[in-house]
Symmetry: C2
Subunit: 612 residues, 2 copies
């Protein structure tokens, strides 16, 4: 099917938008009128520019407040429409979106609306054009898809059909099921947008918080199936009004948008419904995401300043330096199944950072084929002859994600130092990575990990941290052997928030955090006594137990079902990274988010008071 | 009256917050529990720190979900409360805020709530403490002030009273009028917050969008009067949850907060109610804001690069270089009553900027006394002997605001160049200044101009610009001879938005914009033909009239009542400034905001295509 995107999804000038849409591989665009009005290109120049980029103009939009008016004003509306038809003819676009009226004085009369839309369609039809009528969720009288469909049926004009927009349909309480029964050929256009569940004015929700499919809470696969069942074979077109996308690099946004469509289509083909194969006959299917079996290693980029700090921290955590890369200044550190790589071959030194991580996949080739089909950029890997072939992709925050096979002997690239990974402090494996995301790419990152690696979204959490509100969303595989917690500030940070307010971290599992804590040779992050006093009051815990936690700087969380987490944090090392140790008691599936502000304040306080 | 602020209003560590509150002159704080929990200071150390800073701890908060539970759980709640009383004793605070329960299983029973609150108050009273009970607007059963008051009356315990929070009261539809009839002494605490009118879930509205008094839409003077009428004489305490303030410099936020309280108190004293003098007997009154009569001059900071560009632009606009400052590299340019000063004595060269503007006041001394009382920073003015004494204050964005008297002969500081201000291009005066505000200080700026200079807030507008959504809020004096339009991006700009996306500008009035446009010797900002095509369709304008507008690059706006604006923009000069010329037809009181995106796209396009 054709894939299109509305220009309103993207930031910049019209030319910025067209360039970005073409580069991401879209077949067409919806031209939002305001983008044309502010452009110095004439409609004919826009047509030529699009043609040169291989883009069709699939829709011109919107035409507002045309119907449901009294006689005189409708005559003027028709004049207005003729002028727009002239513009459409010059653009070479044959379909225009007409929204249901939001005018306070719109008349509540389906017959009149049908009659007026029919008159408009007659004018359009004479010029070989067609009218796609859409019920805005906040339309004055026509605000649901079923009412717009009744009006279109009543008008019964071949140049009049429906535009269905997933946001307008799914944000309302009217069931979308009947969409499958719409007369074939009468859905003229399909617009797709996802959104989080929000309890707010639907107009504001729509204008500020739409997301690309797979980034929100709507059941878009079901919605698209209903539309396909009605015989729709036009473009799948994205129309997303989002405050962040409006001011982000449109090239990046267009790739994110395209990835969302590819993943949505793929999801349609894998749904287990009897008629799914028929509906999705023309839709491309991706290689399934193979099972992931765990974190293979995590790599930190270090330099001459941060390297010694990280080495000392790893030693304190009980890691052994077990290998030295044969050709590069890269060290392997191990403890249990937890493996850390310190890479000193960095070209842009700065604070230490998680530069890469590797996940083990049952079929790395298929993982990478899927990633490629989903436009994940391949990471250029410089490999010497005889070294293991490690392929990687680049995540939205720039981190490289390697995909290895459990049987790969990538460790053969490292010459043994003679040190053996002993029991150390009892760390068993990586529990999760904590990756602070760039502000513009948080929703993109969630979709990336979900679609490319097949990780599920866990719940999104928000919490108040000392330097502003934070949002956290974790992704994980079904067996929970691969977990990544993504965080972002709710507002882009400004001058006041400390420059390195959002460190990255690796969390390790232990079976007995108290024993592990006792075995550490590392300054623990000091946790305030006030925190422990409150813990007793909040959770009805034994004072003796809490005293033990306090002695080791261990924090505590309990979910509403009573599952428990014990965890501790280290200070920040190398300017930007820290470690966490977690003992998940059975059933606990969160990340101790309520304790994150305690950790952030303590790390901040330490930085303010530490002698340099 | 005491002035207090909740620590949750401010960003940073507890110590950052206390320092900021004390520096802004607050008498006390509400200690938000989470700020204590993450602090390494013990409660006794917090008490000492506050005492050292001259701050009282007026309230400890919040104690949640204590009442309306079944027997066993209430016993545990009492244990929890005793632990908190210990903390309060160490802090030296005697009042704790208890919020109405939000628990899904809270019991809907006023008798039980009264009984449990009474039992809690009994425990508190034994320790010399008191309970301030607050109805959260989203409380499970108790969500209105009148119901919380009925429960407090029923409990009838001397250690139990009400906490009234303006947000919780005014966000609901229950009338606040009855507050005046609350038994004297039973309002234990008063929390103040303003908010814009938003149609959204009240919890989210409260947690993200509260503002300081005077920055939102609530009638806080009326609310405070009702509370004073009930005999309240405790602190006026600010409790504002705001996403921006949470991540802004707390020193700045605390000043903004204090200014809001001072202005609120002053507003109380000037209300014309028979009992106002009695209610506000103890409240400080400020000097009234004198009448402003116009813009005296606008100063641009220029350097060797931007200066020539600005001079050429002013010449093109019909200005004459009429004076040269006697001791500084400063030029005076005039046309009609419009006066521009070019100041080359800048210490930090960069793009040209509006560094200062001067307003004429009927009583500059009183204007400055009021500004000082409202904590407006005085601008250090370096004056040579014999030069006019021009006093200025510094606005939140760093612009200096001079206050002159219409009779002041500040122009005597300039040696005449011999050039006379002729008719030029027909520019008469400054219509308004357009000042893009720093993201963190938009609401602060609105309150600053309103409270300090007595300018009224006009409507807030939002519009989609090529690089993201924009918000605009204008302030003006009643006679509309002084207008300032403040703008800000809805989200803090990131890397993609062009570095100088938010230029500043001066708009001049003309009585005949078509004649003025013809007289300009300046490259007009090119306005797309598409804009004019749409104008005809949108406003039913004569094609000939629109062709005239198009010939001169004049834009058009019409408000819903039919009042018209004709205006034109210039390109950006000196890297960051442009000019606007407006012909306001009678009754038009806006700023042509719908045309701002056209201007922004054209200026952007010109920058992309201009040869350097």
């Amino acid at each position: 099917m054709r894939r299109s995107i509305a220009t309103v999804c993207l930031s910049g000038t019209l030319d910025d938008k067209l360039t970005a849409a073409a580069a991401a591989g879209f077949d067409g665009i919806e031209l939002f009128e305001n983008d044309l009005l502010v452009s110095p290109m004439t409609p004919a120049e826009v047509r030529d520019r699009c043609a040169g980029l291989g883009l069709g103009i699939d829709l011109y939009q919107p035409f507002r407040d045309l119907d449901s008016v009294t006689g005189d004003r409708f005559a003027r509306s028709l004049d207005r429409a003729e002028r727009k038809f002239d513009v459409m003819a010059a653009l070479g676009v044959d379909t225009v979106l007409v929204c249901s009226s939001v005018a306070a004085d719109a008349v509540d009369d389906d017959d009149r609306a049908a009659e007026q839309l029919s008159a408009l369609a007659e004018r359009a039809g004479r010029r070989g054009m067609r009218i796609a009528y859409e019920a805005l969720a906040w339309g004055r009288h026509v605000s649901t898809w079923d009412r717009s469909w009744r009006i279109v049926q009543r008008a019964d004009h071949p140049a009049l059909g429906l535009c269905l927009d997933s946001f307008h349909v799914l944000s309302r309480e009217v069931s979308p099921d009947g969409i499958a029964g719409i007369t074939p050929g009468k859905i003229f256009f399909l617009q797709l947008a996802d959104a989080p569940h929000l309890s707010m004015d639907v107009l504001q929700w729509s204008r500020h918080h739409r997301l690309f499919p797979g980034q929100g809470a709507f059941d878009l696969p079901r919605f698209v199936e209903l539309v396909l069942a009605a015989g729709y074979d036009g473009p799948l077109s994205l129309e997303v009004f989002n405050d962040v996308f409006r001011q982000s690099d449109p090239g990046r946004t267009a790739i994110d948008a395209m990835r969302s469509l590819i993943a949505l289509e793929d999801g349609l083909t894998t749904r287990h419904r009897p008629d799914a194969p028929r509906l999705t006959a023309g839709i491309r299917r991706l290689p399934d995401p193979p099972e992931l079996t765990g974190h293979a290693f995590t790599e930190f980029a270090v330099d001459g300043r941060s390297g010694p700090e990280l080495r000392s921290a790893l030693r304190g955590l009980g890691f052994a330096h077990t290998g030295q890369h044969r050709t590069k200044p890269v060290e392997l550190w191990e403890q249990g199944a937890a493996r850390i790589v310190l890479n000193s071959a960095v070209t842009h030194p700065g604070p230490a950072a998680i530069s890469a991580f590797a996940v083990a996949s049952a079929d790395p080739g298929r993982s990478l084929a899927r990633a490629g089909a989903l436009l994940a950029p391949a990471h250029p890997n410089v490999r010497e002859p005889g070294e293991a072939e490690l392929a990687a992709i680049t995540a939205p925050d720039g981190t490289s994600v390697f995909v290895t096979h459990p049987g790969d002997d990538w460790r053969a690239d490292f010459l043994p130092t003679g040190a053996e990974p002993g029991p150390g402090a009892g760390l068993l494996a990586v529990d999760h990575l904590g990756l602070a995301q760039p502000f513009d790419h948080f929703d993109e990152a969630g979709l990336f990990y979900h679609s490319v690696l097949g990780l599920d979204h866990l719940a999104t959490e928000e919490y108040a941290a000392p330097y502003g509100l934070m949002r956290s969303r974790a992704v994980a595989n079904p067996s929970r052997t691969v977990r990544v917690a993504l965080t972002v500030a709710l507002l882009r940070r400004g001058d006041w928030a400390p420059a390195v307010a959002d460190p990255q971290h690796v969390a390790f599992t232990t079976a007995d955090i108290i024993a592990t804590a006792a075995a550490l040779d590392l300054p623990a992050l000091p946790v305030p006594d006030n925190y422990y006093d409150d813990l007793i009051a909040r959770f009805d815990l034994e004072a003796g137990f809490v005293a033990t936690l306090a002695r080791h700087g261990i924090l505590y969380d309990r979910d509403p079902a009573g599952h428990e987490l014990l965890h501790l944090y280290t200070p920040v090392f190398g300017g930007r990274v820290f470690f966490e140790i977690v003992e998940r008691r059975p059933g606990y599936d969160r990340f101790g988010e309520p304790n994150a502000p305690v950790r952030m304040a303590a790390q901040r306080h330490r930085r303010l008071t530490a002698t340099p």
